[in-house]
Amino acid sequence: MGAEPERRASASASQTSEKTFVSEGRQPMGTSESPNISLVTRANKAPAQYRSRLNLDTGFRWLMTLAALAVLGVVGLIIAELLQRSSMAWHQFGIRFFFGSDWDPVSGSFGAWPFIYGTLVSSFVALLVAVPLAVAVAVFVTEMCPKPLRKPISYATELLAAIPSVIYGLWAIFVLVPLLRNYVNPLLIKYLSWTGLFVRPDYGYSMFSAAVVIAIMIVPIISSISREVLAVVPQHQREAALALGATRWEMIRMAVLRNARAGIVGAVILGLGRALGETMAVTMVIGNTPQIAKSLLAPGYSMAAVIANEFNEATGDLYRSALIEIGLALFIVTVIVNILAGLMVWSVTRGTPARTNV
């Protein structure tokens, strides 16, 4: 996560001073404010004895540009590679590939719908579980909790984010799945079986288990970005609401959450992006069965999981090509989701300096 260090920095630094550093750092170089710098970098105006140094300057600049180009190159390579290696499946099945629900490698019939369905449903259910938790943590930490508790709670959620996916999977297999099967699912079946979403048989390895693991994994992401967004809401908005006689919750609802709405939605979408691509923990508990069942307690499959499980054993070019096409679809969807999320978070946090005009 590129945002991580800056978030950590802003967590402990006083935010305003940091922000001014950033904005100072951005402008002056090369603009009219400091003409002496552009003099140095312009080779033709420099005295002869500095020429060799200036060539080093150009060389250094090119080297750094090369590194920046490498970032573009890698993404270009990813796209080219995925497009090229999935072309066989694309030519064979066309757009039907994404809507066919028959996945039978032996007979050479590939339809990706069960995986797309599994990814969408597990991510959606995960969001339903994670969003209230994450927003509650963010609101509690920024608005309610006593100061000494603030750091430990945010540190704990950050640690949750640092645990690798495969360890969540391990924990889910031996702790979460038995817990759900023995205590939670029977209750869900008892009270919610009329919806058709929670019906027996219940093996434990299911879409629902996968969704719960994903939820635990995306809570820290959503809550830390929400926290950032909430921190940006101008203090005078809070004071104004309190001065009008609002209770603390009314103040949070009207002055804080309403202002931060777009940013929180952005954080949720960012969590969705992570949920869609989640691989290991999902593979370990979702049951790995390419089927579409209405019950969430039935086993399912996801796009990332099928690649992880079947790619190495895939025999034949068409099989591999089909799996890579699933990877391409996953890539496109996550990129779109992340761009959307970035725009929404930015739409809230970009106005930060406004706070100084109070």
């Binding site: 996560m1 945002a3 991580e4 260090p5 950590r8 920095a9 402990s12 001073s17 940091e18 550093f21 950033v22 100072e24 750092g25 170089m29 002496n36 140095v40 970098t41 300057d57 600049r61 750094m64 540009t65 590194a67 920046a68 490498a70 970032v71 890698v74 993404v75 990813i78 590679e81 995925l82 509650a136 943590v137 509690f140 309610m144 704990a156 959620t157 640690l159 640092a162 645990i163 690798p164 495969v166 360890i167 969540y168 999977g169 391990l170 297999i173 031996f174 006689g245 209770t247 949070i252 691509g277 989640e278 691989t279 290991m280 370990m284 992880a308 190495n312 890579i324 890539f331 990129v335």
Partner: protein, 285 residues
């Protein structure tokens, strides 16, 4: 004073939501504690000298360890860092020192995009770029996959930290006639050093536990292998295989390996948080 005038219903709503937020937060922190406690309880019992120094025994035989996975992970992460860190820092320097135009924005956007790409997709690409041309799975290809994941994290962190260095420091250097490349290396990068190390370590912690790309690149291996051009064992892969196996002995080893991995990752993150970050913020003031 005005408290009497707040209706009971409004006060109750206030208490209700405060309580709700507090209890949900407790639930999240509780989940973390539950995971850690379980990891320590299950893992600590199986950590032993043999576990750290032996290679896996065949199924059914007791004992054996994950030494090959530990060494494999170290080699793979070393390759990933050797490629990912210089490129990442270079791109970060570009963004902070030269990248104020449209091209800089494009690079920034691309780096953020790359950061959001699912790791399994990176694995697919590394498979196509390295494994296929090479003809077989290898530790090197795993290093490449993880390097790709490190670059955007390191680049954005480097950029952030360089921008924290006051502009006056650069101007002072230019004023002394120090060329720009020398200023960047010996002055700007040097003052932002702690922050950049932070970014690098966070990137390291992020990829150290990655499993999905390794499945398609390093593949895993039962015995000793120190050559990066061959299939290689790695700790996360062993956790995955052992967790999915039906053997109790392997389950115990999976917990022990998971505990080790978490100690490394959490250790890195905590070190960053309490040592480097503090020093860096002092430096920036």
């Amino acid at each position: 004073m005005s408290n009497h005038r707040i209706s009971l219903r409004r006060q109750l709503t206030n208490y209700f939501f405060t309580g709700l937020a507090a209890s949900l937060s407790v639930l999240v922190v509780g989940a973390l504690l539950a995971i850690f406690t379980y990891l320590v309880l299950k893992g600590a019992g199986s950590l032993s000298w043999n576990f750290l120094t032996q290679v896996p025994k065949p199924v059914g035989e007791p004992g054996g360890g994950v030494a090959n996975g530990i060494v494999g992970s170290i080699i793979i992460l070393a390759i990933a860092s050797a490629i990912g860190v210089p490129v990442g820092i270079g791109a970060g320097v570009y963004l902070a020192e030269y990248g104020r135009g449209r091209f800089g924005d494009v690079v920034r956007f691309t780096a953020d995009t790359l950061n959001g790409v699912p790791s399994i997709v990176i694995g697919l690409v590394a498979y196509g770029l390295v494994v296929l041309p090479q003809g077989h799975f290898s530790g090197f290809s795993a290093g490449v996959a993880l390097a790709i994941m490190m670059v955007p994290i390191v680049a954005r962190a480097t950029e952030q930290m360089l921008l924290l260095v006051p502009q006056s420091v650069r101007e002072a250097a230019f004023g002394l006639g120090i060329p720009q490349w020398r200023t960047t290396i010996s002055i700007t990068l040097a003052s932002a050093r702690a922050g950049i190390i932070t970014g690098v370590m966070l990137a390291f912690a992020r990829v150290a536990g990655e499993t999905a790309p390794l499945l398609l690149t390093a593949l895993g291996y039962q015995y000793w292998n120190l050559s990066p051009s061959q299939p290689m064992a790695a700790l996360p892969l062993q956790i995955f295989t052992y967790a999915n196996s039906p053997f109790d002995e392997w389950h115990r080893q999976a917990w022990a390996a998971a505990l080790m991995l978490v100690i490394v990752i959490v250790g890195t993150t905590t070190l960053v948080r309490f040592v480097f970050l503090r020093r860096m913020l002092e430096g920036a003031r």
